[in-house]
């Protein structure tokens, strides 16, 4: 994003459209030219190149490999990519699975399911290098372009790290090698014209070879390339036209499209599978499904602009399409080879393709005329070659400007694009099988067991990569000596009774728990957004219950019963300003630190656009009422986002008052909050008793009656569980205090009563009783003056006369005005009296802060 700000970039297609879809007015291209206006430089990025893609976080652009480029019906430039993920994108708790140090330049081949691989081409920043390495291999020492060179050793599928499969490895390697070769040898700018004949040739071969399966292949391959909604539409129409599939199957494919490889993987048998799994999968992509059902015109899914005419390319579109199809089939081949069907048929074209391509483009090179298998076997050799190429590249780069280097290397990719696409294949079956496993299609899960080794639990919804400030880590020093563990029964009880102690279960909130759980779960499964408003007086377990729900959901997500999600929590009380909510949410989601207004813009963008690599977000807004502003824009935005189509945002808003939406929210805010509400009733004494005894399970520290007394007392006052626990805790202290060793350590009624008295007794009476004589006389004088005037307010001057008289009665020296003022100010400091500012002196008005009866009661006893 910061590169963006420096200069305006213009994106234009490189070369003519390779293929097009007339129905959807989409055109596929081989490359994209990025022209920088300020520096007048052009960069060409072609299929198969490794690129940086703008992420939510400006500092950390995503790494990806370009798989496909096309222009959709609305003339938006789109790109399909294979993601690589950085270490930072992997949840903290999973990083330890790696068991080794990771350099900043290392990325992982991303096989995480559910990331959108269809992105806007404008988000591409520049091309880079990604070098595949073996696990044990040292990083090649690279001095030049360090920023732009990444390494990939392992793949990451959301649950565990795996060594790159030989296929992937060799393909990555191939991609790099090609690039290296071309730049080294000639820096030739290989135009697509040269390539087309090759492709046509191969296409023919493919067609002849795969004829019997052509119909299905067409669909599936088509499908495999389709990543965007538009592509999906295109695909579905094709399917409809050909009338090959049953409606269910079509829907099926439609749904699977984001995983990109389903069709490719499964061929015939997938149909059966999918029929089984159809219902299970349906909720996964409800948006796609809906779109499919609703629209039938060409402009589906994409921004509804009328596509402009593409006359000139129409003539070629037919062939281009054919070509596209064939290339898809080729892409299929390496994988299907692994599968048990159609091996021979597909293996052949794949070989041919590579051979011919290599022959055309790198006549000078001796090496890579390799079949996939041979490639795998000589991976080591090629890696060495690549290292050479890189070093050569470096020396070139020293002479040439960086742009030159980039464009040169980019041009080399025209040839390697198809192999790049091969790279994707090995990973995709895993994605596919994983998804089907999640939705419990038994057959495919069995299949996955064949292809993927055991997986550790997948990415959970924990906040991604807790942000560490640039130069300071928030940390409290560790204590040197370990904290003592409780020694006695009472200490143990006290530990368990502490509010912070997390009980195994939340007794008495099962119903509420279930309701909230069901709500979030259903939204998660649907992949939609929603709001829920939770109210209740303090200490009724709102936040605890919600956290418990989140914990359970995370557990479920880890066990793959639910799609993974991100969990963000903000607390109105922990914000300095309501608008800081944006900042915190954004920081949780992306790690960016920006100003509030900018954060609002970014978040709005994030939630309103179908972002790549984004999971559902569960947002807890605690102490909602503090997010109130005069314009209520914070609340409005928060509740507006979930209603957006792509938001995938679930909000659980917590506040104290039941009628908060009606009381402080404008209609438009309250309306967006919706009617999903839940209120937590204050605990009854039985529930409080249960809470205490469940915490004390196994520890005999309290008399049954004592617990009941506390519970009844608290339930009668507030129903606040915190209070109940605090009293019990205090009672254990009192018990311990009065303990004479010989006693049995058990909290009795007396202790509890003392604790209750301590916490709830009014301090005023004892304060008055312990006041000095003159203070008491002043209070009496005030009472007398009040009685005389009949008004509960008097000036010091009025009181003074009574005061002097009372002193005379008591036989005391009559006090001066200064003294009475001093007494007054002392009493007002304790807030027994309420007085005005003291510069009014005798005219200062005085009031009692407690009832006259209390004062009389306190004074009479003596």
């Amino acid at each position: 994003m910061n590169t963006r700000q420096q200069s305006k970039l213009i994106y234009s297609w490189y070369g003519k459209p390779l293929s097009s879809d007339r129905k959807l007015r989409t055109f596929q291209y081989k490359g994209i030219l990025i022209t920088s206006e300020s520096s007048k430089t052009e960069t060409c990025i072609q299929l198969g190149d490794f690129i940086l893609v703008e992420g939510v976080n400006a500092d950390q652009p995503y790494v990806a490999q370009l798989v496909d480029l096309y222009e959709d019906g609305a003339q938006h430039k789109r790109a399909v990519v294979q993601w690589f993920c950085r270490l930072e994108e992997i949840p903290q708790n999973k990083r330890k699975l790696l068991k080794r140090e990771i350099s900043a330049q290392e990325v992982f081949f991303d096989q995480v399911l559910g990331y959108d691989t269809d992105i806007a081409a404008e988000t591409i920043i520049k091309s880079i290098m990604v070098l595949p390495l073996h696990l044990g291999e040292e990083l090649p020492i690279i001095t030049l372009n360090k920023e732009q060179t990444f390494y990939v050793r392992q793949s990451w599928d959301g649950k565990c790290f795996k060594v790159l499969s030989p296929d992937t490895f060799s393909k990555l390697k191939e991609a790099n090698k090609k690039r290296g070769v071309i730049t080294n040898s000639s820096k030739a700018f290989i135009s697509s014209d040269i390539l087309t004949p090759v492709k046509k040739e191969t296409e023919n071969v493919v067609r002849s070879a795969t004829k019997p399966k052509n119909a299905d292949m067409e669909i599936e391959s088509k499908h495999s390339t389709s990543k965007s909604s538009l592509a999906k539409e295109r695909h579905s129409q094709r399917v409809a036209n050909n009338d090959i599939k049953t409606p269910t199957a079509r829907k099926k494919l439609e749904l699977n499209s984001p995983t990109r490889s389903k069709g490719r993987l499964l061929g015939y048998e997938v149909l059966g599978l999918l029929d089984d799994g159809c219902d299970a999968i349906a909720p996964l992509e409800p948006s796609a499904l809906k779109r499919k059902v609703k629209f039938t015109s060409e402009i589906l899914g994409s921004p509804p602009k009328i596509p402009c005419s593409n006359d000139k390319s129409k003539s070629t579109s037919e062939t281009a399409e054919h070509h596209q199809r064939s290339s898809d089939i080729m892409r299929l081949s390496p994988y299907t080879k692994v599968k048990d069907f159609s091996e021979k048929d597909k293996h052949l074209p794949e070989k041919d393709d590579i051979l011919s391509l290599v022959g055309y483009q790198k006549p000078s090179r001796q090496s890579p005329v390799l079949t996939p298998r041979s490639r795998r076997t000589c991976a080591q050799k090629t890696s060495a070659l690549i290292a050479q190429h890189i070093s050569l590249l470096k020396s070139h780069g020293k002479l040439a400007a960086e742009e030159d280097f980039l464009s040169g290397s980019d041009s080399s990719y025209s040839s390697s694009s198809e192999e790049e696409e091969d790279d994707d294949v090995p990973c995709t079956p895993e994605n596919k099988t994983k998804s089907s496993r999640i939705f419990s299609t038994p057959k495919s899960s069995r299949k996955s067991a064949v292809h993927t080794p055991a997986k550790t639990p997948k990415k959970t919804g924990t906040p991604r990569t807790p942000r560490t400030p640039r130069h300071a880590t928030p940390e409290i020093p560790r204590r040197v000596q370990a904290a003592q563990e409780p020694a006695s029964v009472l200490e143990e009880a006290r530990l368990r009774l502490h509010v912070s102690a997390i009980p195994e279960s939340l007794p008495c909130r099962e119903e509420e728990f279930q309701d909230i759980y069901n709500f979030v779960e259903s939204k998660l499964i649907d992949g939609t957004g929603g709001c829920m408003y939770i109210s209740g007086v303090p200490g009724t377990g709102k936040t605890a219950t919600v956290h418990e729900v989140i914990r359970c959901l995370q557990q479920a997500a880890e066990n793959e019963e639910l799609p993974p999600f991100q969990f963000v929590e903000i607390n109105g009380m922990k914000l300095t300003d309501p608008h800081q909510a944006y900042v915190q949410i954004l920081e949780f989601l992306t790690g960016q630190k920006v100003t509030a207004t900018h954060a609002a813009v970014l978040l709005a963008k994030l939630f309103s656009t179908p972002g790549p690599k984004r999971k559902t977000t569960v947002l807890i807004v605690d102490e909602l009422d503090l997010l109130w502003t005069r314009k209520q824009n914070v609340m409005y935005n928060l509740f507006d986002w979930p209603t957006q189509k792509h938001s995938k945002l679930i909000i659980l808003a917590i506040a104290n008052t039941m009628d908060l939406p009606e009381r402080i929210m404008m209609n438009r805010v309250a309306s967006r909050l919706g009617l999903t509400r839940m209120s937590f009733q204050p605990y009854t004494y039985k529930q409080l008793q249960q809470i205490v005894s469940s915490r004390l399970k196994g520890v005999k520290a309290f008399e049954e009656d004592a617990v009941q007394l506390v519970s009844r007392k608290v339930a009668a006052l507030s129903g606040d569980a915190r209070r109940c626990l605090d009293i019990c805790r205090r009672a254990t202290e009192i018990c311990e205090f009065s303990l004479q060793k010989r006693d049995l350590e058990i909290v009795r009624m007396a202790h509890v009563t003392e604790a209750i008295d301590e916490m709830f007794s009014s301090p005023y009476v004892s304060a008055i009783r312990n006041a000095s004589l003159h203070e008491q006389i002043l209070l009496k004088a005030i009472l007398a003056e009040f009685r005389r005037a009949g008004v509960e307010e008097a000036t010091v001057q009025q009181i003074y006369h009574h005061y002097v008289a009372l002193c005379r009665v008591e036989g005391l020296q009559s006090p001066t005005v200064s003294e009475i003022m001093a007494v007054c100010s002392r009493l007002s400091a304790c807030r027994l009296l309420l007085v005005e500012a003291s510069n009014k002196y005798l005219q200062m008005r005085v009031r009692l802060n407690l009832s006259q009866d209390d004062v009389m009661y306190a004074l009479r006893e003596e």
Binding site: P469, H471, A472, T473, P474, E475, I476, P477, R478, R479, Q481, A482, A483, Q484, P486, E491, H498, V499, S500, P538, G539, M573, K574, T576, Q580, E623, L626, N656, R722, D726, R729, R730, E758, M759, P763, Y764, S766, A767, N770, A771, S772, H774, E775, Q797, Y800, T816, V817, S818, E819, A822, V823, R826, A829, C830, R831, N839, K840, Y841, L842, Q843
Partner: protein, 449 residues
């Protein structure tokens, strides 16, 4: 010869006196530092146990120490902290195993005073600074309020009961923190103390009895409701004991004979009737130990080389000073004209029953008096009288009811007298060289009849 001896002894005693003065000054001026605790053993034990549990078990807690001004809240806390630190060292000496653990185990206690940390922003910076977190640069904290809060909360959230160093937050003048916007700081501190994060203990010191009513309901729910009340609940006998303790010299005083003499004198004083009266009077007014310190300070300053021991007269004089009326003192320094004006105002107050008056009314009243007793008083010009009136205004013996407007004529501004008639009469009694006519006029406005 004898002269030299006398000189020697006086030099010696001069040293003693300066020593005594130093000791007393330290005792009375830095009252909380070394002062002993009186009548708060139970509170002491409670607080000590509480803090001990925090340090040893890492248990989070929150408590309020509530008591009137001068009741020893800070002294109590300081004592507990001192003993806690000492206790650790004692144990370190006893058990070698715990050596490292104990000597490096420390509590950090941000002392926050509500008078200094006027808002949460400043308070947060101060906390961060005192904790020496990593975003402290030198001795300063930079960054915005929001950043600092997020940073601190993150830091505290990362800790847990068993491994993090417990933190003690002492919030002095707790009631002032209550008025911070949204009570953000209190909410967060109490929330941490009620959740499984870094163990913290929040101790608030306040003199307001209604403090709990000031807490917002969410904050209140998170507060543990431990309240330690300090009430000054001793009686006069103990007060005398405290007096003796405060005044007597310690055993380690270098000149033993002088210390003996001094202490005997103190013992003697405490049995003296006049001294007891002075103390009783003070005790009746306030049980606040600070005013006792003030009284002793006043008396103690009379101690010189030539007057080496305190006498009952010193204490009496100090008691008198202590209880004089400040406004009446001002009246003593007024000119006769000004006194006359005040008397005129007093009469106006009596006539109109405390209703406000203006300068013109006072002037007319004064003129009436002048006309009657023209022989005894010089008839001042009106501007001169006006000047005298303004002087009274400056001394705040009279106060305007409303702010003086630029346009309004000064003569007609409504005023109120800030003196009681008894104060005026008392002041006149001791006013030097007061003309008899004026005195007569003061007793009755109708004296000319």
């Amino acid at each position: 010869m004898s002269k030299r001896k006398l000189k020697e002894s006086s030099a010696e005693s001069a040293e003693c006196i300066s020593q005594v003065q130093k000791i007393l000054r330290e005792r009375f001026c830095h009252h909380c530092a070394a002062g002993e605790l009186f009548g708060m053993e139970q509170q002491y034990r409670h607080l000590l146990e509480l803090l001990k549990r925090t340090t040893v078990h890492g248990e989070s807690n929150s408590a309020l120490i509530i008591g009137p001004r001068g009741s020893g809240k800070t002294a109590l806390l300081n004592h507990v902290l001192k003993d806690l630190r000492e206790m650790k060292q004692v144990r370190e000496n006893l058990l070698e195993v715990h050596l490292n653990g104990n000597c490096q185990f420390f509590i950090k206690n941000p002392f926050l005073s509500g008078l200094l940390q006027t808002n949460d922003k400043v308070a947060l910076k101060e906390i961060t600074r005192q904790l020496q977190l990593e975003n402290v640069v030198g001795d300063k904290v930079f960054g915005s309020f929001a950043e600092n809060l997020a940073f601190l909360l993150e830091a505290l959230r990362k800790g847990d009961r068993t491994s993090s160093c417990p933190i003690l937050f002492v919030l002095d003048e707790f009631d002032l923190f209550v008025h911070h916007k949204n009570q953000t700081l209190l909410y967060n501190l109490f929330d941490i103390s009620q959740s499984a994060q870094t163990p913290v203990t929040v101790i608030g010191l306040t003199c307001r009895q209604d403090i709990l009513e000031l807490l917002e309901k969410r904050v209140k729910s998170r507060f543990s409701h431990r309240q330690i009340y300090l009430m000054n609940s001793f009686d006069f006998k103990e007060y005398i004991k405290i007096f003796k303790k405060q005044l007597s010299l310690p055993a380690e005083f270098p000149d033993e004979s002088f210390a003996q003499k001094w202490n005997n004198n103190v013992q003697h004083l405490s049995e003296d009737k006049t001294v007891q009266d002075v103390l009783q009077n003070l005790f009746h007014h306030t049980k606040d130990l600070r005013s006792l310190h003030l009284l002793l300070m006043l008396a103690g300053s009379a101690v010189t080389v030539h007057h080496p021991l305190l006498t009952a007269a010193d204490l009496q004089e100090a008691g008198r000073q202590h209880s004089t009326d400040s406004k009446a003192n001002i009246v003593h320094g007024l000119s006769v004209l000004e006194i006359c004006l005040i008397i005129a105002m007093k009469h106006l107050n009596e006539v109109y029953d405390g209703e406000p008056f203006n300068f013109q009314m006072v002037y007319n009243e004064f003129q009436k008096f002048i006309q009657r007793k023209a022989h005894s008083m010089y008839n001042f010009e009106k501007p001169v009288v006006m000047k005298a009136f303004e002087h009274l205004l400056q001394l705040e013996l009279v106060q305007p009811l409303e702010r003086p407007l630029a346009r309004a004529q000064r003569e007609y501004l409504l005023m109120k007298l800030l003196l009681d008639s008894s104060q005026i009469m008392n002041a006149l009694q001791v006013y030097p060289n007061c003309p008899t006519d004026v005195k007569q006029w003061a007793t009755s406005s109708l004296s000319w009849l």
